[in-house]
Point group: C2
Chain length 278, copies 2
Amino acid sequence: MQKKKEIKVLGNNNYPIGIFDSGFGGLTVMSAINKVLPSENLIYFGDTAHVPYGAKSRDTIVRFSKDIISFLIKNKAKLIVVACNTVSALALPVLEKILKIPPIIGVIEPGVRVAIDASKSFRIGIIGTEGTIKSKSYPKAINKLVKAKVYQQACPLLVPLVEEGLIDGEITDKVVKKYIKPLLAKKIDTLVLGCTHYPFLRKILEKNLDKNIIVVDSAISTALEVKLILDKKFLFASKNGKKYLKFYVSDNPEKFKKIGMRFFSKDITIIKKVDLVG
Amino acid sequence: MQKKKEIKVLGNNNYPIGIFDSGFGGLTVMSAINKVLPSENLIYFGDTAHVPYGAKSRDTIVRFSKDIISFLIKNKAKLIVVACNTVSALALPVLEKILKIPPIIGVIEPGVRVAIDASKSFRIGIIGTEGTIKSKSYPKAINKLVKAKVYQQACPLLVPLVEEGLIDGEITDKVVKKYIKPLLAKKIDTLVLGCTHYPFLRKILEKNLDKNIIVVDSAISTALEVKLILDKKFLFASKNGKKYLKFYVSDNPEKFKKIGMRFFSKDITIIKKVDLVG
């Protein structure tokens, strides 16, 4: 049955899923997609020449994202996953408009559904970059579905900490405490990691939270969303094909490999530097 | 006499001095140039779409710098000041080769001369970005002039802290302590702020150093170097012209204005966003 479906879509089922982020963060999403969809070919783009995105403007984020998407399409992506909350928050609506094929999905809606599922008191905390928080994408997405109290906190130092590999230790602990404090005062029962870099800090975050607070990241739920779309569009890869994971960065492939390996569950073997003009 | 010299150089004496950096950091150098040369017109470019530069590769830094220099030349810069240690360390030799006119100067050599002047024991500490430290530009430049023990420390978190305006407080204090500790153990008597962002952290750095350690930044000494070159090339602006300071950024002019104002001694009034394609 699956095979019949594949023929319908011009034989591009074994084309890869394209995933992108400003740096390492999106590897958390790639890792989840790889777990949920082990037969799929995946290509990842980390925009390490322009990292971090968090404090940059909508115009600039849209410009960077368009270039990356062009690159992924040239590399035959059958579906594009925006594995970055800042891009999802600031640029996804624009990108969706210009991009009819392939389909594109972000990380905010999937994360929001998990958070609503998890929360009992509907007092939900969001941490994210300056851009994500200012866009109010999370409160809007949550309140479209339920009536909830949403408390936001921008955490501009967390991405630099993760990009430097400082995922524990005294400094990171102090930074986390500072950001979490006002949310704890609001008696949240659910905390959304509104940035794909933050799952790397999950341990140190959980250490600083009350035990009853549920921490939500959107990686698995985004991966499940990808699965749903592939199913709907008859786009599953065949199980017999030769599977590959490829990584591209706009700068410093060596550093990406070194730090990425610590975070990504699989080996980062094929990695190339690509100059984008954006 | 001065007027006669001006005529010799095709009347471009009132053209501006072009100054650039990845973000706010170079404002420390601009401020010094403005003090030392109050009659000069100055234009500043902060590459806030690509900030930070510190962990990015030589190729990428050269590519960004070339685009900025083209912009400054289009805006008639009579002299270019690389107000960024990472660019000075990684890209200046390449940029000097491709750029015959106007003259271009960096911040490392001027800083090194002050450090050698200040040090008695010739045990000199250098703090800078990953790129600057890895390039070994400081130890090389110092040891070209004197035989000294040079101890280096990369401080990847200091630029993000300054760019977020966190120039004091407990977190910045912890970060500074961590970076400074190994240098104190080496009994340095002079510490070079090898990044134009670091003078914003001078107070908190000095608080954490032994009192006998002299802190050196290259801003004033770079400004004096600029003065020397203008003198040598008969390029001083006339004292009667209408003086201007202009600021350009590749992203977020509002943020630049808000944080820049805190740091720059003069008002940041004329500020424009420019899209570079690099």
